[in-house]
Symmetry: C2
Subunit: 583 residues, 2 copies
């Protein structure tokens, strides 16, 4: 058997270390800037690809990403697995019952939010294929169908992330957007699989993609529809019958995990064999498996974490390797794609929401939410590029569209819907707000000692802050019991909450209900008109630090990072637990 | 860039579906037979490999596993990632503080249990290299060092699994064996990395393994030791400083997950580059990261599940593809390897335990525990085969050794240490022991209705069973409250507990403390002399079914599989949570 030489192995492993490391670092950075991680991951790829590294350090670029030999095949194998698993996850998140439960407005938004951009894209591409970057010689109908699909698809994971960031995930608007996005994705992928079959039938022989001989276009489309219907009816039924047996008889959650992956690989091989792409089979398996209550939270979580944090970054970074994003950047084309994509999607969704009798502000928020495109747009573009339907310029324009819509959707939704912000303890505590050894021995001393840094952080006068907190303390003691006290005050002139934490090793009497002295003293300042902030934050403190183990971590620590890590990991469910519909 | 053709993709995806599906099915089957999953996974590989499929269906075998082209390279890339991740997991499980805490006996067992088999293997191989299957032309010293290492190494994951199965994991004997096995693994891999450097320096040029030009043997050994010392001191310190920062500032658990994998790929590339194998770097990263309290249970769990249930089976099945296990089966060599391996390991460990003043039965149990070899033995043998140090016959003998010791260690330990068996609800309930609609309306009727199938399962007389349970019920009612009752009896002539569950939709009065009628009625028969079984099982029922949600699942279900799935997934921690030391 042919295999990788030791030198190939060194390059491949170093390549994955660099790709994953840079992608995740950039993803985390963009997360901290309030942006979806995918934006950072793709930019990391552009840095590593021909655009930057290939131009400025061609030697290193050529070493890491050789054009020939075994290494590119090894990369291709793993990136293919990554995108197959990414589509499995995308499919798992689709639960059409969410859509049915939202009623008439959701259906209108789904249908119009998919059909209008499709019609706009199809019409524009059909009327002026050269302008929109058709690959010379490619079939115009195929190209127009592709472009329509590309404009109508959404990006469920990006949308889910935005909903969570805006604290909208479980609201009516949030569920509406999620349901409609699921519909768009499902229809989009089915149409696109047919487009793939057409691409395949029309591909020039030298492209060496698809074309497994015998199958004509009609057979491919027939088989595709057959597989879709099977997966969503009998296949889904059989999976739902098999899962309880697997859960009860095999190891857990390993049984369900392996079963899902075996089905995924088999489905992917099948759809690849009939001439539509492997990812389509993976997506359908995800849809068939996903809405089963028997795929418990833990199984989803393991898959989700591994794919989100390992495979997806490697795939997104590889996007940047596909093209030179400066050389192939066609300003006119990019602006044209952005304009038509925004207009088509916003108009379709707004129309649906308006017909569904939603208030204007909600309708706009929904339209901007549905306008987010991320991974799905890019995968579509990548396949069209590889199948020789579009030129590199169009691919670049689609990547820009995906990035820009992912960036603007959140802020635009926030403009139209105001939600009380959710304050997280670990975001409030930072360097300079944790004092592992308080000097104070009395309640007033402790409050004064903590008021100084709090006032500095708030930009207020130190003694005024201390007085406000002491006044509040005189009304009623803030000792919560279990060695915790939360002296606090609501103040004018404060923009956001300020929290300072002190540890008093000897304990300070805070007149707690359990009679014990307080050792953890949180001084909390909140804006006067934001009542919910104070309740939220005090609730979190009370919940978290009732555990002696959690308090012990703070007592033994002199770094705010350890405290933040504790809060984050103990504060209950991980964000992704919530992100998964039905999870 | 070169890439996989659609046909390559179909083969690769189908290949993974078949490999993973067959490996996991066989692994689960062997688990049910009380054997480690690895035994089934390797046998699945032998079925799929040249031994069986290649002989009986050479066409299909050639299609799935072509000898040339891009597909074998794609397999190689993913199998290499699999073994790199497997060694990461193995490293993560090593926590030497477990060893120090066990004191003198543990140290004696560790040192002698490693040194004696090493000396025996080294001496035998050095004295008669031809008998032990040296590859003609290979360096005798290298070969002898390899054989010594192969006999001294253990298999932590297999041992951990056996300890759990025997309910010994948290006992003194269990911790002793785990600690000593960690020591053996750590020393074994360090010695083996040096042997790899020697293999590399001595490899014939046509083998095309290792040999990155410049580095001589001295430099390789020096660098290896330098990397080991760095990883276990400064590297470990830096990782432990970085982790709280990562946990508190980056997404969780994704931050730690990606960080660990980036380090793993980088470490693997480094050790591969200096001429020892990539897996060694992955192992060291695992050791450096693993004993940090900041790698929380969830991060470990995600990695563990994905590797155990996806990557590891693919790797183990690939073992079977490496050789023809019938053609290369040399009876004399296999028996010789088994004899020398058993004698060396058992003698060394028994001697250590005896010097450590442990009771004889414990000493034997520990020796047989340490004798288990699984994945590690096989990986060692595979590398030696690829580096041209041993012949295929010796590789086959080592695989047989790994399988046989994995199979016999559990039963042998059980012979020497009797532990009360742990009964699990989901193992007791089976087809024929769940009655979704009881006819009974009174307590006595319900007991009689359930006594019939229970007596049949126990092989006892029906009316005698019913009488015993009714007599017990007269002494004191067995209604637990919250709609649950557990009528029960201890009986002579019963070998193991029998449990039958009936659902009474209308409810039956069982004189429960909360005054509510019972809807779930468990009839439990246990052997008269096994008091712990009754307490264990009743405790599990009471704990699990106090939740109204859990009861609702049973009320709505008419399949025992749904009930078993509920019990398994709700019964608290997954087995692997316990399997991880420090987890």
């Amino acid at each position: 058997m042919e295999s990788l030489t030791p030198h190939d192995l060194v390059v491949m492993l170093a390549g994955f270390a660099v790709m994953l490391g840079l992608a995740r670092a950039a993803g985390e950075l963009f997360n901290r800037l309030g942006q979806p991680a995918i934006v950072g991951e793709i930019l990391a790829g552009i840095l590593l690809g021909p655009t930057v590294l290939g131009t400025f350090a061609p030697g290193l670029f050529g070493w890491l990403f050789p054009g020939a030999g075994a290494v590119p095949i090894a990369y291709d194998a793993i990136i293919t697995l990554a995108v197959v698993l990414l589509l499995l996850i995308a499919g798992l998140e689709i639960d059409l019952s969410v859509l049915w439960r939202q009623g008439r407005a959701a259906l209108l938004i789904s249908v119009l939010g998919t059909a209008v951009p499709f019609a706009v894209g199809f019409g524009a591409a059909y009327a002026a294929p050269r302008f929109w970057g058709i690959e010379p010689g490619a079939d115009i109908l195929t190209f127009a169908l592709f472009f329509g699909t590309a404009l109508s698809i959404t990006a469920l994971p990006v949308i889910a992330k935005i909903m969570m960031d805006l604290n909208l995930f479980k609201t009516d608007v949030g569920m509406l957007v999620m349901g409609a996005a699921m519909f768009s994705d499902l229809v989009g992928w089915i149409v696109f699989s047919i487009v793939l079959g057409m691409m395949n039938a029309n591909a020039p022989p030298e492209a060496d993609v698809g074309g497994h001989g015998g199958l004509g276009l009609g057979a491919t489309i027939g088989l595709t529809l057959g597989i879709v219907v099977f997966a969503l009816t009998l296949g889904r039924y059989l999976v739902h019958r098999a899962l309880p047996w697997i859960q009860s008889r095999l190891s857990w959650p390993g049984g369900v995990l392996s079963f899902t992956l075996v089905l995924t690989f088999a489905g992917a091989a099948l759809t690849e064999a009939i001439g539509i792409h492997a990812i389509f089979g993976a997506f359908l398996v995800g849809v068939a498996v996903g809405d089963s209550a028997h795929v418990r939270t833990q199984t989803r979580m393991v898959l989700h974490q591994f794919v989100t944090y390992i495979f997806a970054p490697i795939f997104f970074v590889s996007i940047g390797l596909e093209a030179d994003f400066l050389e192939s950047f066609d300003v006119l084309l990019v602006l044209g794609v952005l304009a038509i994509a925004f207009v088509g999607k916003l108009a379709g969704c707004y129309l649906g929401a308006w017909l569904g009798r939603l208030p204007t502000r909600d309708a706009w928020a929904i339209a901007f939410g549905m306008n987010a495109r991320g991974a799905m747009e890019i995968i579509l573009g990548l396949l069209a590029l590889q199948y020789g339907v579009i030129q590199e310029e169009m691919f670049v324009a689609l990547v820009v569209l995906a990035l820009l819509t992912s960036i603007v959707s959140g802020p635009m939704m926030r403009m139209f819907i105001a939600q009380p912000k959710r304050w997280l303890l670990e975001e409030l505590l930072d360097v300079g707000s944790f004092f592992p050894r308080l000097q104070a021995t009395t309640r007033a001393e402790a409050i004064r000692e903590l008021a100084a840094p709090a006032a500095a952080a708030a930009g207020l006068d130190e003694s005024a802050v201390a007085e406000a907190v002491l006044n509040r303390e005189r009304v009623m003691s803030t000792g919560l019991g279990q060695e915790v006290a939360v002296p606090h005050a609501r103040l004018d002139g404060l923009k956001k909450p300020v929290l300072v934490l002190g540890h008093a090793p000897e304990g300070i009497d805070f007149d707690s209900p359990d009679g014990e002295p307080a050792r953890l003293i949180f001084l909390l300042l909140t804006p006067r008109d934001d009542i919910s902030a104070q309740l939220q934050i005090m609730g979190q403190i009370a919940r978290l630090f009732q555990s002696p183990a959690a308090r012990a971590v703070v007592y033994e620590s002199d770094s705010v990072d350890v405290v933040r890590a504790l809060i984050k990991t103990e504060a209950g469910e991980s964000p992704h637990g919530e992100a998964l519909p039905g999870g």
